[in-house]
Symmetry: C2
Subunit: 676 residues, 2 copies
């Protein structure tokens, strides 16, 4: 089964022979130099130590051997690499249209390292969806899908508490969606085609070291004269999302999980003047209360007790142009009926040490893992659960949660080691959802959103969501991380990104402030999809409709979001055509302006809007860099400013720092936003 079905157009790669080795070039960029004295290719073997606790992994490698392949024999497009002359080659490289195909001498070689040429001052972006650092230079990034961590900063008490109580503090590199692909400021991109545990080590001034716990099938690379060109190629390679439906960009999706009271509360949003495009009730399946907060009952069908007459309710909303969205994930609670159904059919993954079903601890309840490597099981989940229980029931979308928890010691139908199936699981999960949507002819209309990903998730998942931020302004787990997530994933072909307004994780007394919700609402208005979330502990935290001022502010931002829809619709068309993400780093359109490159928390929203969300508490003013080569009009005051300067702009709540590019064809639309 190939779950990455997208056609790819790959850059040319070529070998240049040297006296004592060879170079690999893509376009006019030398990316690898391999010489006997300074080898770039290494293979070896190792044994991983893996501990999983509720989606958090402690992984350590014990490397048994690491062999520099100093001896190269080159014949046309083929290179054979050995430890020394006279010894059997351990690795064969073949330049193909799709990149560099690799073949190892045997399966015992389960470690691979490649050193890529590095430049002083080089910047490196991508790695999937990276929340802490958009530019990865100077750091090492393990690439393994997992919980992202709570706090993600070992210097904070919150992170320490999460580590001690649940091994869940995380670190800067933890992400739901890693991908072994990067874009270099040298105007090339590189992708490692592997499903294994991998790492990018960008700490050495002389080389980038790529590591994978299997010899990759291919090293792919692209070069282009512009970053726009590179991003287009990456999108073509990894898959392009269907156009975001107009309903999703035309108002806010209000997240409530209050049982049938959610419908009454929604009316409060409408009455406050909010433009509502959808009601999202993740608790449509019923609740389970744990020490983490209110969790959902993972048996995927409407819960009549919590939502009596839901089908009729959905129809009534639909008549008013409001969609209803739900929630699903790839696990089945052991105390649910679908678990029994799947178990009877043999669709659940098994233990290695017995024929028992593998149960995963999700925090005070256990679940089975539907074995998507069994095509029948995948079809069953798509048809029986998503098709019948969700789409046929009337859902227009859902959070397709998780995907990161595949245990490495599970026994799967396809016989592949869990170490090699763990990373691609989110992509497989995305395809199950996409197949279900397609089976009802709803592609481009029904909208699911995911936090987890891996190579190829782009071809199946129509919308990313930034995962579970803490409900704060913290550097590594707060509001600002969403921007970095949008920018990094956007470069790799994920055109659409959004987040939980107000953040999600409230633990150890960390709770939402009104200011946080309002700043987050302001930011979300300038992203493709504006969606709120009550968080993990709704009762302990301020809700949007719990404070009239917050609600009024939110409602105004939804109207601004809706008013932007004509502009955003054009960006969606562009995304379909070119793969350009809606949220873009400044340098994407201002390559010549060196000052744009370090900017990580402002973005271009399409070519004509510059958005610099306020991501610190207590700020009344904000520093915004305006790219050189254009003039910029402040959205609220309509004051013009020339580019190439840092502007200190008044930014009280309600007036986030947003500018439009003077001369935009959308000038009239932008100018009207200030009066909303």
């Amino acid at each position: 089964m190939c779950y990455r079905c997208h056609m790819v157009e790959r850059a040319d790669m070529r070998i240049e022979q040297l006296a004592d080795g060879f170079e690999l070039w893509v376009g006019d960029v030398a990316i690898v130099r391999h010489r006997a004295a300074e080898p770039a290719f290494f293979v070896g073997s190792g044994r991983p130590l893996v501990e999983m606790y509720r989606g958090n992994f402690a992984i350590e490698d014990r490397v048994d051997e690491r062999l520099p392949l100093r001896h190269a024999e080159i014949a046309g497009n083929l290179v054979r690499l050995a430890v020394a002359a006279g010894l059997a080659p351990l690795l064969e490289l073949r330049v193909e249209p799709g990149g560099l195909a690799l073949n190892a001498a045997g399966p015992a070689l389960n470690r691979f390292w490649l050193r890529v040429l590095a430049d002083a001052g080089e910047r490196l972006w991508g790695g999937g969806e990276q929340m802490s650092y958009f530019d990865m230079a100077g750091r090492r990034f393990p690439l393994w899908t997992s919980e992202p961590g709570v706090g993600r900063d070992k210097s904070t008490q919150l992170t320490w508490q999460a580590d001690v109580t649940g091994k869940s503090g995380g670190d800067y590199w933890n992400t739901n969606y890693p991908q072994p692909t990067y874009v270099s400021s040298r105007r090339y991109a590189l992708h490692v085609e592997t499903d294994a545990y991998a790492a990018f080590d960008f700490r050495d001034p002389d080389f980038h070291e790529i590591e994978a716990w299997a010899v990759p099938a291919r090293i792919e690379a692209w070069a282009a004269p512009s970053f726009v060109g590179l991003v287009e190629q990456l999108s073509a390679r990894f898959g392009r999302q269907p156009r975001l439906p107009d309903w999703a960009i035309g108002g806010a999706i209000v997240g409530l999980k209050d049982g049938e009271r959610s419908f009454d509360r929604l009316e409060g949003f409408v009455a406050a003047g909010a433009e509502v495009s959808g009601l999202w009730c993740e608790d449509w399946v019923g609740l389970r209360v744990t020490s983490f907060g209110k969790r959902l009952f993972w048996d995927w069908k409407a819960n009549e007790a919590r939502y009596p007459g839901l089908r009729g309710r959905i129809a009534a909303l639909a008549a008013r142009g409001i969609r209803f969205l739900g929630y699903v994930n790839p696990y089945l609670a052991a105390d649910g009926v679908q678990f029994v159904e799947a178990a009877e059919r043999g669709y659940l993954a098994l233990r290695q040490d017995s024929d028992d079903i593998y149960l995963v601890d999700f925090g005070e309840f256990d679940c089975g893992v539907v074995d998507f490597t069994n095509p029948d099981a995948a079809k069953w989940f798509a048809e029986r659960i998503i098709g019948q229980e969700m789409l046929d029931f009337g859902l227009s979308g859902w959070m397709a949660d998780f995907g990161e928890y595949l245990p490495v010691d599970v026994r799967l139908s396809n016989g592949v080691d869990g170490m090699l199936m763990h990373n691609p699981w989110p992509t497989i999960w995305a395809k199950v959802n996409a197949d279900a949507v397609a089976s009802r002819g709803r592609t481009g209309d029904a909208l699911f959103f995911m936090r987890a990903g891996w190579t190829g998730v782009q071809a199946h998942c129509p919308l990313l969501w930034a995962g579970d931020q803490s409900v704060d302004f913290s550097r590594h787990d707060g509001i600002g991380t969403v921007i970095r997530g949008a920018l990094s994933s956007g470069l790799l072909g994920n055109a659409y990104h959004h987040s939980d307004i107000g953040g999600y994780t409230s633990l150890f007394g960390n709770v939402r402030t009104a200011e946080l919700i309002m700043r987050w609402s302001e930011m979300a208005a300038f992203t493709p999809v504006m969606r709120s979330h009550e968080g993990n502990r709704p009762d302990d935290n301020l809700q949007i409709d719990g404070d009239p001022q917050v609600l009024a502010h939110f409602a105004r931002m939804t109207r601004i979001h809706a008013a932007l829809a004509p502009y955003v619709a054009g960006l969606c068309d562009e995304a379909v055509a070119t793969g350009l993400p809606l949220q873009r780093p400044l340098f994407l359109h201002f390559e010549e302006d060196a000052a744009c490159y370090p900017v990580e928390t402002a973005y271009l929203y399409g070519p004509d809007l510059l958005v610099a969300p306020v991501i610190e508490p207590g700020a009344e003013r904000w520093q915004v860099y305006l790219p050189a080569g254009a003039d910029w009009i402040h959205l609220w005051s309509h004051e013009a400013h020339s580019g190439g300067q840092v502007l200190d702009v008044e930014s009280p709540i309600g007036s986030p720092p947003v500018f439009w590019r003077a001369g935009s064809v959308h000038e009239a639309l932008f100018a009207g936003l200030a009066s909303i």
Copy 2:
């Protein structure tokens, strides 16, 4: 210069050839099996990343290559190892009387790994002075002298606070005194003769992996029919301490650092009935106040302002049989006069990037490092500072502090890389002290004590002290760690061990309780040297003489300590003759009793006393394992108990769990202790 001058008697090692490799045996124990398919020897190269902050190191390795040396050519006592047949040998092994001598093909090979055969249930002790685990099985132990850490347990808030504020939390393996030597329950011992960063990895069930960041000069091994025999051999190998002077075992050394008020306070101890053998004033050099607490002024001479007329005071004490002890360490404060003197003579280590003196940050003040690799500098320190300013002034002993802070990027007179001089620095520092003492003919009388160590410190340092515990009962940094430190270091030839009564480090509101001081006093009474310490923040913490009940309890314990002197003197004689430590793991004398092996917090004090200190707060009773094969008499009640059982014994403060072996020739002495 050889700073490890002790004569060694080494076990025989021999090679046994196999069809596809060889085995190494010591006595009747196979320790290494090397086969082409399962190689035991690996070499390679790597680049360390080292960050030092006030004696705390963050060290990461980047291994460039790790080559299994599968091909062995054996000729008599010589083995040549290569990656493959036909390739140049990279490592030569030669069995010599002293062990296995190793020669690498070149200096570029700066990584070495050796796999030693492991047994199920094998126990492994040693590794220098290990504070958290006496039995190292199941864990990895980096061997690098450093600060031991504050808290040393990532799950505690104290450790987290220390990490965040000073990178100083530490972990279970951090120690001032590591040593790449272990004793196996298979009744052999193994030593890696290297000064490089090293590690023992005891996690794999099939092998122990020894790592060193240089190819070691030798792998040494010993086998013996008994553990006593092994310990004697190790002591012979690493050096044997001079006999502890009678004055040091005949009463307590009272630590005060209150300037001249210390003398008045000492009278309070005497008046309370304490047997006082010495007054230890580390502030004899004057004070410097920092945020850590009161620190000392590191310019090593009597401070007339803080101790007016000290020479006369010392003489007056001496007339009463009370010694005076001071403090010194190998650094010179940049604002002191000795720094200038050393700098003018060129005795201070330099920076690599200039000819400037290398300054080390010790926490709000900088110091120069006396370059002991320059024999003139070492002699100068021994003569000019320790000889003239300390011994000639009247000091009978001192804390010879530190030794762990040698920066790895320092430039030394002998031209050796700091990575290779860092670990042996404590041993060199010990020798400077020992040479000074010998120069005055005071060996075996003047007593200095050290926390830092490395291979060979045994030959120079007459007394270990357990370093800086936190002032608490915590598992990894409290009172109980002292026992593990005594047992582990004792097996490697360090006969004498003691600790700061009450602990040392009081940070983040962690302060001493009366109970802690009293429990620590009880334990210290049954160690060779009983010495109190005011801690790093005397004013914030209870002092022994700050509570009449604590003082009375301490005084009684000093009398018990003094009363034990005849027994302890015999143990000291035994240590000189055989190298057996005074504090011994239970299994050392009860090899046949399997239940003795897991015991880590009780010890035999000599062959006839069993001491099981209470190391938890609030305990009124204590569980004590009594070794089988003897009867045991409770010290306080004189009740007899047969061995081979866990006894639940009443252990209120003042009656620590201590037993003597029925039939001991010292029975009368022991029986009398209860009435003190």
